[in-house]
Structure formats: structure tokens, C-alpha cells
């Protein structure tokens, strides 16, 4: 029996991903997600004993870059797409820590 996502898990995922699932969409979303999990269940039949995970197809190493200031920030250009930008700041509804 492949792993299935239930309402509770969906709600957790919805919170973690900051994606709302409307109550009216819940069953449909669950069905769609579980369809993918059914497909993914094929992994269970693969013998992976002793196999190391492969995070990246290139099994190479990182080149480190020199410690130099190379970016000269054009705040105007970079903030042009911001929906609420004023006095050099990006604004969001009040954050309560």
C-alpha cells in the first residue's frame, strides 16, 4: 500500500508551503497528490541497499570565488518590480515576533 496523503498531512503541507487549499478544493487536491504518490510508489520496488544518494549529476566540487566586491547595487532597478517599496524598504503587513 503506497503512502497516501490525508487531510491532516495536506493541511501541514499547505502551511509549510504557504499555499492555501480551499475546503472546496481539498478532496480534488488530495486525489491529485495521491495520484502522483501512486506513480512515485514505483521507487519502492528498487533495491537501493548500500547505494549512496546522488544529490547532483555532476560529481564535482565547488570552485570558491575571490573575496571581492563585484556587485554594485542599483537599488532603483532592483526594486522596480516591488509591489510596496518606500524609503528604500520593502513593506509587508506588520510582523509580530
Amino acid at each position: 500500500m503506497p503512502t497516501q496523503i490525508d487531510e491532516k498531512t495536506l493541511s501541514q503541507m499547505s502551511t509549510l508551503a504557504a499555499l492555501p487549499v480551499e475546503p472546496s478544493q481539498e478532496q480534488q487536491t488530495l486525489a491529485a497528490l495521491n495520484e502522483v504518490l501512486d506513480l512515485v510508489a514505483m521507487l519502492e520496488s528498487v533495491d537501493v541497499d548500500g547505494v549512496l544518494p546522488l544529490a547532483h549529476p555532476l560529481e564535482r566540487y565547488q570552485q570558491l570565488s575571490a573575496d571581492a566586491v563585484t556587485e554594485h547595487v542599483d537599488r532603483e532597478a532592483l526594486s522596480r518590480n516591488a509591489p510596496d517599496f518606500e524609503a528604500g524598504l520593502y513593506f509587508v503587513p506588520k510582523v509580530i515576533e
Partner: protein
């Protein structure tokens, strides 16, 4: 604060140290503190679509320096991971950090307790990560502003074992790490600018309990004092709750420095499934032996090693050795002076005495000391060769400090301060004095050795301090047949 009988406390610290690099850890933007908001947040720091991180070599070098400094293991292969959570100061929705393969594993530092005993504190790991931006809460009443200048500043997160048993140990440990970081030039140590921040994991348990208690994490303490106060409050809160039969929940708290209390946080750290996974935009970092050798070669001698060397090969008392080796530039100054003058003990006395007190008086750093080790060495030479007396030396030092003297020897010459070591000049004076004070002369002869000072003082007075007291001493003894 004393921990109530029957209870014990376990504290582990997570210290976030900003690394003193020019550029950020994953971008080429500047790390300068205090610029206009978002004026040094480049496209990478802002997490714009399509941008990619790179890795600053200096961040790695500094992390390795720290790792070697605490005798930790440097992972020859380390890797970056993504830590996923949403927060306005975290532009990408994930922080690039190191989870499974941090750069430094293990290590330790030794702290000195107030009672003079020493204790080894174990370091679990130290890993590289990026700092977040800052939230500005007071600009608008209903909105929070986000400044991402700090986003991407390299951080080394140093995680200790829960070896710390009370607030003063925690502070001593935090200070030891602060000292090491600045000594090794890994971090500028500027607490006011947030270069060093502490998260304290605190739990209490009955003395006979084996397992650690339920812990609270106090986030973002930015001074030693707040660290101490927060721990005090937290210990009291936890013990009070448990004593009253209450139950503690593992939580994340903030310290309010005005009310001197902690309160549970409402946001960010409550949903704690961070879904770490290997950062696919970066490759694992391989550190080879030549990299480590190069760092080793560039490392200053650690203060502990230096202090014992000052003690054993330069013959300094333990306290002096520790004091002078405790600060890297102070140690460098002293060592230069000791070498130039060939008088390590005399040099130590000058540095810890007159030089340090003058520096403190004027709130200066040793690197800003107006008298160079060369100039000091010349002055020390004059005293060793008895050209000037100790008292004159202090006056010359003052002149050097104030800039009234070009060099010790020219100043001494110009002001006729050479010590009179000519016996022909002193002898008549001594003869005269003995004649003027026959009673004292007899007493001295009879063994009242304190009176030696009386006669020497008189000679010094008569010569305006230029006589060599040792020589006066010798002449007196010879004349009295002592």
C-alpha cells in the same frame, strides 16, 4: 545568582559570528555595516528569479581558521543545504546553511571560572551559513519594512555542547569565543553592530536526573549582559514552573532587556519542519591539505600557546604573560619591544604599566599607541645602561607620548637628564652628607640599613635625580666600610 539546591542547569550556546569578509558569502555585494537600506542587497541577496549563488573563499578560510583555533576537525568535504521557511527577512524562502556536512566538527575551548579553576567546553560543530535581512518595525504603524543589506553576510554558527552549568560559565565561554574570533581575525567582534549574536539553549533538571530537562531556546541575544540576564531569568522561570508542579514546553523565546524577562515567540520558529536538503545550486566543497597548510601557516600563535612561551622562554610571571598574550596586537607590541630591547621583563613592566594605563586613559587601542616599540626600545636602552634613572625615564616616556620628544636620547640630551654616574661628582656630595648627618651615619654603620635610603634620597635631591642611585649606594657602602 546561585542555583537553588537540588537543581542543576544545562546550557548550550549557538553563537552566530559574522565573518569579516569584504563580500557576502554567496554574492559579490559588500558587507559594509550601516549603509542606506537595501543599497547593498544585490540581485542574489534579494533572491531574484534566475540568480545563482557562488561561494566566497574567504568565508571558508575564516571558518577553517576558527576550526583549527579550537582544535576541531576540518571536514575535507563539506556541503551546503537549504533550510526552508518563510519570513520577510529571508528572501529566497530558504537559508543556505550546512546541515549534514559542516565545515568544522568538534573542538573545544578552555574557560577560567571566577574561582580560578579551568574548564573545557566542547564544541559540537561550526557551520557556514548566510545571515538574514532586518525587519524595521518602527517606520510605519501597520507595516514592517524589510532591509536586506545584511542578507547574505557570512555567518559561522558555533554550536557548543550543553557543558555550561550556569550563567557565568556561559558568559565566560561566550567571551572566550569572542576573544578567539577577534584574535584570529575571523570576526570583528563588534557587538554593537551585531557581529556576534547568541542563542542560548537552557534547561533545568533535578540534581539526580540523568536526562536533560525540557529546553527553551532564547534567540538573538546581542550582548554578554543580555546573555547573562536572560539565562538568570530563564533558570528562575523554569525552576519556578517545575517547583509549582507545572510542565515546561519546548519553545523558542525572546529576551526583553527592559523587563528583564523572556517570552515565547509567536512567529517564525514555531513551524519547525525545515525540510533540509542538499543545495542543488552549489557543489560540495573539497578542502585539500594544501588549503589547510596555507591557513595554518597564516595563523597567529594562539594566545594560550603564546602566553606559555612568554612565561617559559621570556621569563614573565604567569599573570603578565596571560595579560600580554591575551590581545593579539598587545602581544605583538610587547614582543617587538622585548626583542628590540633585549629586556623582556622590563618591556612587560612598561607595557602592562605605563603604556596600558595611558591607553586606557585615552581610550586608545594598542595599534594607536603614539610611542612605537622602536622608540620605547631606545628608552629602555637608556635605563638599562643607566643613562637615565627610572624617574627620568617616566618623564621621557611622557614627552614621547605627548609628541614633545623626537627620540628618547635626543630629549635626554637636550634637557640634560643624563644620570650622573661620574664618581668624582657624587663622592664629594656623599662625604659632605655623612659629615652633616653624623648620627644617621653611625646608625647606618651599626646596621640600621633603612638609613641607606635616607642618604641616597639626599643625593638624588641634590642632583635633581640625575645621580645613579645604585652608584650612590656603592659609594656609601665603601665610605662606611659596609
Amino acid at each position: 545568582m546561585n542555583i537553588p539546591t537540588g537543581w542543576q542547569v544545562d546550557i548550550g550556546l549557538e553563537i552566530h559570528a559574522q565573518l569579516s569578509t569584504e563580500a557576502k558569502i554567496f554574492s559579490g555585494a559588500s558587507t559594509t555595516f550601516g549603509n542606506a537600506p537595501n543599497s547593498q542587497a544585490c540581485a542574489i541577496d534579494l533572491g531574484m528569479p534566475g540568480v545563482l549563488p557562488k561561494v566566497n573563499a574567504a568565508a571558508y578560510e575564516k571558518a577553517v581558521r576558527f576550526g583549527l583555533g579550537v582544535s576541531g576537525t576540518i571536514n575535507r568535504e563539506s556541503r551546503f543545504d537549504r533550510k526552508n521557511y518563510f519570513y520577510p527577512d529571508l528572501p529566497k524562502g530558504y537559508q543556505i546553511t550546512q546541515m549534514d556536512l559542516p565545515i568544522v566538527v568538534g573542538g573545544h575551548v578552555t574557560i577560567s571560572n571566577e574561582d580560578g579553576t579551568q574548564k573545557v567546553i566542547h564544541i559540537t560543530r561550526a557551520h557556514l551559513e548566510e545571515d538574514a535581512g532586518k525587519s524595521i518595525h518602527d517606520f510605519k504603524p501597520t507595516q514592517t519594512g524589510v532591509d536586506l543589506n545584511r542578507a547574505g553576510t557570512p555567518l559561522l554558527e558555533i554550536v557548543s555542547e550543553p557543558d555550561l552549568k550556569n550563567a557565568s560559565e556561559a558568559v565566560a565561554y561566550a567571551k572566550a569565543i569572542h576573544h578567539l574570533l577577534t584574535y584570529l581575525d575571523v570576526c570583528d567582534g563588534n557587538m554593537a553592530e551585531g557581529s556576534l549574536r547568541f542563542d542560548a539553549n537552557i534547561s533545568v533538571r533535578r540534581v539526580d536526573a540523568e536526562a536533560l530537562g525540557v529546553r527553551s531556546e532564547i534567540k538573538n541575544l546581542n550582548s554578554f549582559r543580555f546573555l547573562e540576564q536572560a539565562i538568570h531569568y530563564e533558570i528562575e522561570r523554569q525552576i519556578d514552573t517545575l517547583s509549582a508542579g507545572g510542565v515546561l514546553a519546548q519553545d523558542t523565546r525572546l529576551f526583553d532587556p527592559e523587563k528583564l524577562e523572556t517570552r515565547a515567540m509567536r512567529s517564525k520558529e514555531t513551524a519547525t519542519d525545515y525540510r533540509y536538503f542538499p543545495e542543488p545550486d552549489l557543489l560540495p566543497v573539497k578542502i585539500d591539505e594544501s588549503f589547510i597548510d596555507r591557513i595554518k601557516a597564516s595563523m597567529p600563535e594562539l594566545s594560550g600557546t603564546r602566553a606559555s612561551r612568554f612565561e617559559t622562554s621570556l621569563g614573565l610571571p604567569t599573570a603578565d604573560a596571560q595579560l600580554l598574550a591575551g590581545d593579539r596586537s598587545l602581544g605583538d607590541y610587547f614582543e617587538q619591544l622585548a626583542t628590540l630591547s633585549g629586556q623582556p621583563r622590563l618591556a612587560a613592566n612598561w607595557v602592562k604599566g605605563d603604556i596600558l594605563s595611558r591607553l586606557r586613559e585615552q581610550d586608545l587601542n594598542i595599534s594607536e599607541c603614539p610611542v612605537s616599540p622602536e622608540a620605547m626600545a631606545e628608552l629602555l636602552g637608556l635605563t638599562v645602561e643607566n643613562v637615565v634613572s627610572g624617574k627620568t625615564a617616566k618623564a621621557v616616556f611622557a614627552a614621547l607620548w605627548e609628541g614633545d620628544a623626537i627620540s628618547a636620547s635626543t630629549y635626554v640630551k637636550e634637557h640634560g637628564l643624563e644620570q650622573v654616574s661620574d664618581t668624582s661628582a657624587i663622592e664629594p656630595l656623599v662625604t659632605e652628607l655623612l659629615r652633616e648627618h653624623p648620627k644617621q651615619a653611625d646608625d647606618l654603620k651599626a646596621g640600621k640599613s633603612k638609613l641607606m635610603g635616607f642618604f641616597v634620597g639626599k643625593v638624588m635631591q641634590a642632583t635633581s635625580g640625575t645621580a645613579n642611585p645604585q652608584q650612590v649606594n656603592e659609594i656609601l657602602r665603601a665610605k662606611l666600610g659596609l
